[in-house]
Point group: C2
Chain length 219, copies 2
DNA sequence: ACAAGTCGGTTGTATTTACAACAGAAAGAG
DNA sequence: CTCTTTCTGTTGTAAATACAACCGACTTGT
């Protein structure tokens, strides 16, 4: 797990914790390394999870498929981000969605009970960890609200503009990459891919934006 | 603030804290009582907030109006619930939506800095409070994901069924009240009111459900 | 009791979206 | 390199939605 120290150092979970201390905490929190092939399920809908998960290599999608085969992409997890923070509470029910590896991926599991119970040994970072987790869930919360803001627009064009301006703001540039291809973006915004593609091209022709694959420039 | 002790005792924020201890904490956390008339804004989009808010009387909506006057209702806050947990982090930006009183309401503000900084005095409940906050944001997080699940359905009927079955599950009964009138439900699900009303009546005629005002029974 | 306002349901039409199908470009496998 | 697969854009049609307008039932305030 040593090899991933640089990534762990920069995670929200270990914010404010020094490298040597992280090493101690890896043991203290019962960290274990797991590997997944592209397309593998890390978690499935309905599972009760007992781990906090940090992605150290690859890429994950949080998604949900309905009876009719429609897929909704609820989120995207990049290296250094975590998953499952919101399901550590004792009263959280089963997982409502799947977590799938987009590429070959490595994740580190942390034991819930060890995170939330007070550690009697030398590890004095539990309260900091809980605070970090609180901040992390808060941020995810704000992102979810932002996403709701995009999706609750009525038309495909409005959803696109809302999402793209948000991405531009996040990257502090009118030129940016998005972590989706067309189908994934459509699933993320809950719209039809072809209708969305159509709308994107219209906006390009109207001079509102330029794009190439997953690189966009707002004008 | 004494008069609201019964409500405070049962909030997520003070879960596991005894009544006498809550009294101490009210002072320790810098609690102040604020009153609002029906229609008043508790917070406005763009504000930077520095308080955790607990509703002790009345009813609030979290909502967002766009340029064209469309209103999206992002959430509903009932007595005993709180607002602002997700905006306590130092890096949280401005509030992305309005919080409005639906009825005459009373809220208690708690000072962020006092919640998150370690209290040097006798008050030993800070770490418990942060943990409680963590659980609270986690739950709100799960609710947001659930709401995303409803909204990301493609048709009005699917959104309605998704939302209503969720409410039925939450109330553990096929018969339940929802906290919205028709317009508000439409705003919550991001659909057109008349189209939704139409769809509801169709489903009633098909024998899928019965309803009267905001009371629903799934069959 | 009356007037004004709110709420829920209904309808028709214009607009938008979903779906299916296809073609060229790009990427990946052997 | 060639074949296969994936990705993106395009089009036409069927279906769903938004919008406006209207009505009757019910509330609220005076």
């Amino acid at each position: 797990m040593q090899q991933y120290m640089q990534i762990l150092k920069n995670t929200k979970l270990f914010s404010g914790v020094r490298e040597e201390e992280i090493e101690t905490m890896l043991i203290c929190l019962g960290a274990t390394l797991h590997q997944y092939k592209k397309g593998d399920y890390v978690f499935r809908t309905g599972e009760y999870i007992h781990n906090l998960t940090v992605l150290v290599e690859g890429s994950l999608h949080i998604q949900k498929d309905d009876y009719w085969g429609n897929r909704a992409i609820l989120g995207h997890i990049a290296v250094g981000e975590m998953f499952g923070e919101a399901y550590l509470s004792p009263d959280s029910g089963p997982l409502p969605n799947d977590v799938v590896a987009l590429k070959d991926s490595c994740v580190i599991f942390f034991d819930v009970d060890r995170i939330l119970s007070v550690c009697t040994s030398a590890c004095k970072f539990h309260s900091l960890t809980v605070k970090n987790l609180f901040f992390a869930v808060s941020e995810k919360n704000r992102r979810l609200v932002a996403k709701l803001g995009h999706i609750s627009n009525r038309t495909t064009r409005e959803k696109l503009l809302s999402y793209l301006s948000d991405e531009a703001k996040r990257s502090k540039s009118s030129s940016f990459f998005i972590p989706f291809n067309r189908q994934q973006l459509a699933d993320f915004l809950s719209v039809d891919r072809s209708a969305m593609s159509n709308e994107l091209c219209k906006m390009r022709d109207e001079g509102l934006m330029e794009f190439n694959k997953n690189h966009f420039t707002l004008l």
